[in-house]
Amino acid sequence: MSTHSLFEIVQRHENDLLVEWLRLQNQTLSARRDRISESQLRANSQDFIMGLRDALSATDSSDTSGPAFAKLREVLTEVSKQRASLGFSPSETALFVLSFKEALFGRLRQENANDPGAFAEKAWDATKLLDQLGLFTVEAYTKTRESVISRQQQELLELSTPVVELWTGILALPLIGTLDSSRTQVVMQNLLEAIVSREADLAIIDITGVPTVDTLVAQHLLKTVAAARLMGADCIISGIRPQIAQTIIHLGVDLGNVITKATLADAFRLALKKKNLSIASR
């Protein structure tokens, strides 16, 4: 099997193919015209055809993972990234490559008008090649989306665990959202590092924003309290809603000798008292 005939066609009709392909893309993309500019689309398409021509001239095989296709893969990765960030769907991204088929096949049919056997053979070669490239586009698109998701996860982790200083030596850690193992790890680390850097000996963990407390979450909280105690800081758990108090008892979780308060205000009052401070009205 050879892709040489494809190369000849692409090289000979480069400009015709581009014009035809752009027309087809404009048809299929009609709903997305606002997201991508004409010049952008033209540049992408031109890069692709040039990449394809160079790749086909360098190799005779249709294996798109080979070194000859490296440049073309780069072009496709770039296009996928672009489209992923522009909000295109995976199929719309794949259509970029797949819509090239129609343009290419039209050309092939003209060239082989009187030899249906040769046309079928060449069409098959072209389909195989373009399908591979199409799949590669989808893969690149998915990779981009995955990296976006993992970055957002990281950002969420950082966003959701602030440690605030209420008073000299009194820290508060307002927890918002579900606590899982990886988040607890970050929470614990943030709190302990803040205890060292601010020289705090009291920390209030406020769980008002934690929707549910199960045995695992309770265990995570107890671990955090134990670790803080090992470093010489006392912990108060506050913001326990009535339902959560019920759940904790129904589950049979033993909070041990951890001090718990219903509201952050109560916890803060206790913390001030422990530091021999008081608030007076004037």
Partner: protein
């Protein structure tokens, strides 16, 4: 043989662990410290582990043991300056060292020991008056 120095400050003993605590060293420290508590009639022991990056379950248990022995010899033990990563490791190992007092740094640990010895000191002197 390598030893961890034990310094005497007033009524208290100060142990600053500056090297990697391996098992033999911990056992030696336990021997030396109990000897010193008795010979110097110390009322409190301050163990500074701020330079310690790694603590395994054995060392964790040794710290607990040392605190227990000191208490029998009528000296309060305060472990100070534990690193966050060490605290997390110990908790994950299930060693929350319930018998040990802890403080953030040597200053705070000293305050803790002073206030503890004042409380017990009063009862001790009261006891002597009774004699």
């Amino acid at each position: 043989m390598e030893r961890i120095p034990i310094l005497k400050i007033g009524d208290f003993l100060l142990v600053t662990v500056q090297v990697d605590m391996h098992d033999r060293l911990a056992v030696t420290l336990q021997d030396d410290l109990t000897d010193r508590i008795v010979s110097s009639r110390a009322r409190g022991v301050l163990i500074d582990i701020s330079a310690l990056d790694i603590v395994d379950s054995f060392i964790g248990r040794m710290l607990g043991n040392i605190a227990g022995m000191a208490r029998i010899l009528d000296a309060e033990t305060v472990v100070v300056g534990m690193q966050p990563s060490v605290a997390i490791t110990l908790v994950e190992l299930g060693l929350s060292l319930p018998g040990i007092r802890t403080a953030l740094n040597i200053d705070r640990g000293m305050d803790l020991l002073r206030s503890a010895s004042e409380e017990t000191g009063e009862t001790a002197s009261a006891g002597r008056e009774d004699l």
